[in-house]
């Protein structure tokens, strides 16, 4: 009975409508926003689990809303890759939401929840969209909601960061939209599945990919288009920084990956080499910048730039071992989401505690705020890629692919990136043990905020043991097979 209900329900639609409805409710009943928000997130986690069960039992989910197929109607599609991204969003989102219930004062909470739930609905819709124009709409919605969140707390830095972010994200979307126009002109459809069969290696395809790739790379802050990210992510409120770094960035990556796998990979013309090169530059440059920072949140933001680089290293490797490499990248995205969210939340705790985020003055937080220090340390372990952690699994699989293919330059980048990550993580942790020259007064940090950060970090560690269960789920519907085919 229950199984039949799970198998027949339209979980994908619930995943979009539920947060949307909750956003409206939070707007109307601001006092209950915290409760509505956390309950919605919990329901979403369950819905994602149900969707996962559904597509594992019955294969990929495909649904044309109202019976209208693309291009006029809106098609929904869910396979293992969608499931992965939805899981990242729901799980990390739940942790951040629990944190946010303690973090925001009533007034800010009333603004945070509707925006965050709107962001959530847009992200879920993005991961379920089956055509490139809906991807544009959802991408734009994600961007606008994210910008509004970044500006939430006000203040010079946050507003400037949000403005910079808005310009970058609009520019990125327009470039993407121009690409959509060209693809539609060239191949007469916006449906990804149709485009996959129609696409031919003609100039319009390459121009479209160039535009779309550049636009998405800008949204993902791929070096050298990363200029907007550190200031924006560092100046936002802690839960918002976590959302931006852990979740929003992944939306653009998902689109790029989807387009690549379905449409562009067979006609790439060497683009993967360029992406790999930029990714490598991001790993090295981002890590070095992170190492130079004296402020914790900027360090974490640059670490995001670096870690995203790893996702691009997968492109050149995927031409020979598609599925394995994309599994690795997916796993890295998942672990990064949890670990980076934990890191930003831990940084938020430290700022609440000491009123600053200067690394040199952390002042014995290991003793004074042990759960937060633990959260940062465990998240750091996963970011570095030390075993046992999700980051280790992802980097091991990438390393294995690079070695098997004899791509030594990528091997060096992968390992060097890990070493640099170790350097910047332990730069913070070392200071967490020592006493600062000036002893500061400290404010209490709510236990819920400490535990939310710690549990997310533990999740990133736990992923180190869950690969045998998660990797097969990612493969439902064979989302990664296309790129294995090379001309």
């Amino acid at each position: 009975m229950l199984q039949a209900v799970i198998a027949d329900s339209h979980w994908a639609i619930i995943l979009i409508l539920l947060p949307l409805a909750a956003a409206v409710l939070c707007f109307l009943y601001a006092r209950a926003a915290n409760i509505i928000g956390v309950m919605t997130l919990s329901a979403l986690v369950l819905s994602v689990a149900a969707l996962g069960w559904q597509i594992r039992e019955t294969g990929v989910y495909h649904h044309a809303i109202g019976g209208w197929e693309a291009p006029l109607g809106i098609g929904l599609y869910a396979d293992g890759l969608s499931l992965l991204m939805l899981t990242i969003t729901a799980v990390a989102g739940l942790g951040i939401s629990i944190y946010a219930t303690s973090y925001f004062k009533q007034q800010d909470a009333a603004r945070f929840w509707p925006l965050w739930l709107l962001l959530l609905a847009s992200l879920n819709a993005l991961y379920l969209s089956a055509d490139i124009f809906n991807l544009y709409i959802t991408l734009e919605l994600v961007g606008l909601a994210a910008v509004a969140l970044a500006a939430l707390t006000g203040g010079r830095d946050a507003l400037a960061g949000a403005m910079r972010y808005l310009l970058a994200t609009l520019l990125g979307s327009l470039a993407y939209l121009l690409g959509v126009a060209l693809l539609y002109h060239g191949f007469g459809s916006v449906d990804i599945a149709i485009l996959a069969t129609q696409a031919e290696p003609v100039p319009v395809l390459w121009v479209a990919f160039g535009l779309m790739g550049a636009g998405l790379a800008l949204k993902m802050a791929l070096v050298p288009l990363h200029f907007w990210l550190p200031a924006t992510h560092a100046s936002a409120a802690a839960p918002v920084s976590a959302l931006l770094s852990a979740l929003v960035i992944k939306g653009a990556f998902y689109i790029l990956l989807r387009l690549w796998l379905e449409i562009f990979a067979p006609h790439s013309g060497g683009a993967e080499t360029l992406l790999g090169l930029l990714g490598s530059a991001a790993v090295i440059w981002g890590s070095l910048q992170a190492l130079r920072q004296t402020r914790l949140k900027l360090l974490i933001a640059y670490s995001t730039v670096a870690q995203l680089g790893y996702l691009f290293i997968a492109f050149p490797l995927s031409t020979m071992a598609g599925a394995a490499v994309w599994s690795a990248a997916g796993y890295l995205a998942l672990s990064h989401a949890l670990a980076k969210a934990a890191m930003f939340l831990a940084a938020g705790n430290l700022m609440r505690f000491g009123g600053h985020d200067r690394i040199a003055d952390l002042d014995r937080v290991v003793q004074r705020l042990p759960l937060t220090a633990g959260a940062f340390a465990l998240a750091g372990v996963s970011i570095i890629g030390l075993p046992p952690s999700g980051g280790f699994v992802g980097k091991w699989l990438l390393l294995e692919a690079a070695l098997t293919q004899g791509r030594w330059e990528l091997v060096v980048v992968i390992i060097l990136g890990s070493l640099l990550a170790a350097a910047y993580v332990f730069k913070v942790l070392g200071r967490a043990f020592t006493q600062a020259p000036v002893c500061q007064k400290a404010r209490a940090v709510p236990a819920r905020m400490e535990w939310a950060a710690l549990l997310l970090a533990c999740g990133a560690i736990l992923l180190g043991f869950l690969a045998p269960f998660i990797l097969p789920l990612m493969d439902i519907g064979d989302p990664f097979s296309a790129s294995g085919v090379q001309p």
């Binding site: 291009p71 006029l72 124009f133 709409i137 734009e140 606008l144 910008v147 509004a148 500006a151 006000g154 203040g155 010079r156 830095d157 507003l159 400037a160 960061g161 949000a162 403005m163 910079r164 808005l166 310009l167 609009l170 520019l171 327009l174 939209l177 121009l178 959509v180 126009a181 060209l182 539609y184 002109h185 916006v190 550190p230 200031a231 560092a234 100046s235 402020r295 900027l298």
Partner: protein, 101 residues
């Protein structure tokens, strides 16, 4: 006038807007630049909807453009609000140069 030249004009607007977005410091000009780029993309979409000869133009890109306009309006509204807030906070409608330290 073929539809192709309209599409080229659209591309021209896109490039012009991009140029303005980069060189102008004032945020209002940047926001306008983004809008001009958006118009350029719309023009491309509409122009390319006409597929040769006397056949009726494809309606789908028109639908896309209408959706795009809605998105552009809300994005512009958000950008303007942000600009005003920033101007109230810093006294000038430009992006501060320094990164937060």
């Amino acid at each position: 006038m073929s539809s192709f030249s309209f599409a080229l004009a659209g591309i021209g607007l896109f490039v012009l807007g991009l140029h303005a977005l980069i060189v102008h410091a004032h945020l209002l000009r940047k926001i306008l630049a983004i809008n001009i780029m958006g118009s350029g993309v719309s023009l491309v979409l509409v122009a390319l909807a006409r597929r040769g000869g006397d056949a009726l133009p494809d309606a789908v890109p028109h639908a896309m453009v209408i959706t795009g306009i809605v998105v552009a309006v809300s994005a512009t509204a958000l950008a303007l609000v942000l600009m005003l807030k920033l101007a109230a906070e810093t006294g000038s409608a430009t992006l501060p140069d320094d990164s937060p330290e």
